[in-house]
């Protein structure tokens, strides 16, 4: 009886090591899934902090699937366009399939028109070459207007 207990303990030691690793991996994997849900576009530049991640907030839209106040975090390069593969889909007849691009370089957000038919406008001026977006800039594609927000916590634009 005693010998059996000892045997169980001896292999229990190895067994517990296995259990530990299984639980560890299980929780780490579910952590990864959670992270993915929290930050859908993942990847960010090394030097910037999450608190000042830029975002585009819809302030004017005639489309059903884009409503006032909808917020898009820009934590990696994004494409705006009518194509359903775009990061932000704009189902507007005045929007091109691949309309404009917002990208992050050294902590600054740039907007570039990528050959749209009807143009991209920042503060109602047409974008000819890549421009740096500043907090509060209004970005218009077709009939949809976004506001670029850099310090989301301090701006009381949307409720």
């Amino acid at each position: 009886m005693f010998a059996v207990l000892l045997l169980i303990l001896r292999y229990g030691f190895l067994f517990l090591l296995g259990i530990f690793i299984v639980m560890l991996v299980k929780w780490m994997v579910s952590d990864l899934y959670m992270e993915q849900e929290l930050r859908p576009a993942g990847q960010k530049e090394m030097s910037e902090t999450k608190a000042d991640t830029g975002r585009l907030v819809v302030i004017n839209s005639s489309l059903a699937d884009l409503n006032y106040g909808d917020t898009f975090l820009i934590d990696r390069d994004i494409i705006l366009g009518r194509d359903s593969g775009s990061s932000i889909v704009i189902k507007d007849t005045f929007a091109s399939n691949q309309h404009a691009r917002v990208f992050v370089r050294q902590g600054q957000y740039w907007l570039e028109d990528i050959g749209s038919t009807n143009g991209t406008f920042v503060n109602e001026a047409q974008v000819k070459q890549p421009v740096v977006l500043a907090d509060g800039d209004r970005l218009r594609v077709g009939s949809v207007t976004f506001q670029f927000v850099r310090w989301g916590h301090e701006v009381g634009l949307y409720n």
């Binding site: 780490m28 030097s47 975090l73 390069d77 494409i79």
Partner: protein
Amino acid sequence: MSGVYYAAPHSNIRGSAGSRAVEKKLLFLAALYLLAGIMSLYLDESGALVIIAVVAGLSVAVAFLLIHIYWKASGFRGDHYLLPVTAVLISTGLVFLFRLDPYYGIRQFIWILLGLGTLVFTSRVLVNFRFLGDYKYIYALLGLIALILPIFFGKVQGGAKSWLDFGFFQLQPSEFVKILLVLFLASYLAENRAVLSAGTRSLGWVSLPDPRECAPMVVMWGISLLLLVFQRDLGAALIYFGTFLAMVYAATARIFYILFGLGFFMAGASVSYFLFDHVRDRVLIWLNPWPYIDNIGYQITQSLFAIGSGGILGAGFGQGYPGYIPLVHSDFIFSAICEELGLLGGAGIIILFMILIFRGIKIALHARDEFSALTAIGLTSLLGLQTFVIIAGVTRLLPLTGVTLPYISYGGSSLLANFILLGLLLNISHEANDSL
């Protein structure tokens, strides 16, 4: 464009960090593991030693849980998985040391408590670790002094003259110098990254940085290698150099430096092969240890016998004969683990180290600036390389070089240094999680 990005509307981006529930559960499992190990060792015995072992096991388990409680109470947001993984590695080491030689077990127990104290201290005092980046030339100087001292006042142990003798305990400065090296390189590379990765003058098809920019780096590296040759501490030299290359590559993303460095390393290795007897011996017993089984090859062949006799499930804890391997309590503890816990146990330990490295790289990716990212990369490669070098050494994948298996082998300097390393990694992840 490259791929489809999905940017869904968000209302909140706050993470759920803060509660350390996973850490607690894993630490309970680790405590169970440690106690099962101690129990199976001493269940059929009695006497003072049993009481000491049980007390040691219980105290270590409780100490880990206390650290968890303290961190939870003080709102520390460091990585949740590092502490439990370390706890299991530490427990494995402690249990095996008690099984191999209780003398080392008891001493290791005291070192573990001191090490945990160091960990709490690091996570408390160095939580704003960024100021560490301001003193890089002081580190270079301190590191040099610490490496030079053993050459004059050192004591030879296991072929390496890298120990300082303080009477009742000995210190191995190179264990601590490796952390100073990482801090120096991280701070230096963060400052000069742009220059190093762009290069200012071209040599044929590669552009080289100005000699002035890389001079301090080359000097630091050359001197440390020279010293290690004088101290005959091959393992440490290998680890230093690998960490150096990993950090330079992480900072500049230029494969040229790696090739250049490997070339240098090959040259150095062949030179030392012809110059030093002990290097030649190591290569000899690596290529074929069997003719030397009675003398220089004894240790490695005993290690191979032990690993081989373990099989898949092992001989059972406490049932093997690892005592035949010289130095089994420090460099060769992995062979003892393989003998008694088998392939499964050995693989388990390797998986745990891989998880530590995975978390370390993750911390580096999430770090907030270059200094902390490079520090995290450096510390992680230090840990990974040291583990690789010794496990590869005892299994005869690489020539044997005497370094400790982090967190498992007996050794106070190594334990304390690795706990400081762990604390720094946790601090970097604490800062990254704080901004979430």
